[in-house]
Amino acid sequence: MLALGLLQSLIAQTLLAQTDLEFVRPHIDWHAFAPELILVGWGALVTIVDLVGLDRVRRLIGPLTGIGFLLAMVPVLTLWDLGEEIPRILFDGAYVVDNYALLLKGVFLLSGYVVVLLAGNYMAEGDYYDSEFYQLIAASVLGMLVMTSARDLVTIFIALELVSIPAYMMAAWRKRDLKSNEAGLKYMLMGVFASAILLYGMSLLYGAAADTRLTAIGESLAAADSAPFITLGVLFTIIGFAFKVSAVPFHTWAPDTYEGAPTPLTAFLAVASKAAGFVGLISIIVFAFGDLPELVEPFMWILSAATMTVGNLIALRQDNVVRMLAYSGIAQAGYMLAPLAVYGGQLAEAQQAIVIYLVIYAAMNLGAFAVVIIAARKTRSGDIESFSGMLRWAPGLTTAMTIFLFSLAGIPPMGGFWAKFWVFKVLTDGWELWGTLLALVAAVNSVIAAFYYLNVAKQMWFLPARDGDNSPIIIPPALTAAVAITVIVTLLTGVTGWVPDWADFPAVAAAP
């Protein structure tokens, strides 16, 4: 009781000491903040249209949400065009709009658009056609936009929850389907538990640094002597994010949730939601843990090696294509974590490698899910064998799927090759022992992964259709557009060997 009383008086003193501070309205850079504001405004508008129009406008809600994503893309492009005037720093450095953030904002908006295209027919043809699904996707994408610019523990936490909470609801979307219920329950319990652990780590970091801004935390941690609670704070923060990006051994929710949730949402979770977790992890490591490689690297090494190995080995023996893609997504997360195991001395290069991987992974994995959704419209099945003979009944789709599979396996000239190339380049820089070892693990894993990716390709190209049904498939225009967008991005990044202009991509230097 004594301690409590003392704390109360202390808080009172703290508050009193700060009351003489005059309130100053923070300067708000409306242009830099425009993508988020447009998405919020448009989301509210769509909700009102839905409420007023009810059944008459239900079919319009999906396309309207898609238009919202494209509208929010406009300020992203105009900001990108500013060049010299970037980065824009908002709210005392808690929110930074630089080219790193803008590129990822563009990726998230485009992924959101593709998911809306995928969801259209799927939702309308099930008996759970509900316009709220699209509004929740918009809310989740809004969280991702905030995440790219967040440079503060509170902002990162809010962004992460804004990404996750709508996703819990969407995972349990098919109300009367026990599988979907279970997917939602598992995802929600694991997600909330991970957030709680992440928060505990963040509270310790705040205690160590007396500031919530990442750069200030980075400076304090670099100056401080190592203390057990700093180590704990760093580890809990990383564990929290490891759940979100489904790294082994924190991946157990992912395959169940991916299988039970509606497939368009699975695509969204496996790509956009995972990428958002990665963006938060990169931001925290680059800006706050940049000077602690000796503490972070061993942990990341184990996470990365375990994630790619376990993911690939389990993916090998899946016969359901959605589960296979789920485990392959876990393995891909392992490759993406790899640069973080050797980031000491090459922070910017590691960040660059992960961002390139994220962009290409988003395109190729969304594309693969799009093909799975289209094929399931005809075959009503998720088995890998249901792809057999696809060359006869859907030659165009077969070509697209082959491009995605080759890209996922990392075969040139697809984008996936360059994604892996940059990761290996960071790992083998200077041929240090641990980096080279991890590169070896990744190389062996790429070979294992090629086996199950090419197995699907074999089914499509060389085997006859399972029931001899070669009637051509009907593909709705929205799904064609989704496949076209992802094929173009996968091919373009691969053929041009695309690298974002890294001169504009300040890592630590541009931090306020």
Binding site: L7, M169, L178, N181, L185, L199, S203, Y206, P255
Partner: protein
């Protein structure tokens, strides 16, 4: 300064919460255990905020409280959904999907 006692209390609450999440089979009790962890976080944040004479810890705690309410709202809705469909909120029985 009495910082250590608060950190110790928070650490104990955190451990109880993690233990509860790992052992409890009832969906609602798992959610309650997660609330314990979040309260440990709040104690940490407020204690550090007072220790550093710094308001952002308390503001952070307010954000945590608000978001925790949203999380539990969605969580209970999902648990209720499961209860309606299978008349049980035992997490261990949710095993149609095999990881």
């Amino acid at each position: 300064m009495f910082l250590n006692q608060f950190l110790f209390l928070a650490a104990i609450l955190f451990c109880i919460g993690v233990y509860g999440v790992l052992t409890r089979k009832n969906g609602v009790l798992v959610l309650m255990s997660i609330e314990l962890i979040l309260n440990a976080v709040n104690i940490n944040l407020v204690a550090f905020g007072a220790f550093h004479q710094h308001l952002s810890g308390q503001v952070f705690a307010l954000f945590v409280i608000a978001v925790a309410a949203a999380e539990v709202g969605v969580g209970l809705a999902i648990v209720l959904l499961i209860y309606r469909n299978r008349r049980s909120i035992n997490v261990a029985e949710a095993n149609i999907l095999k990881g």
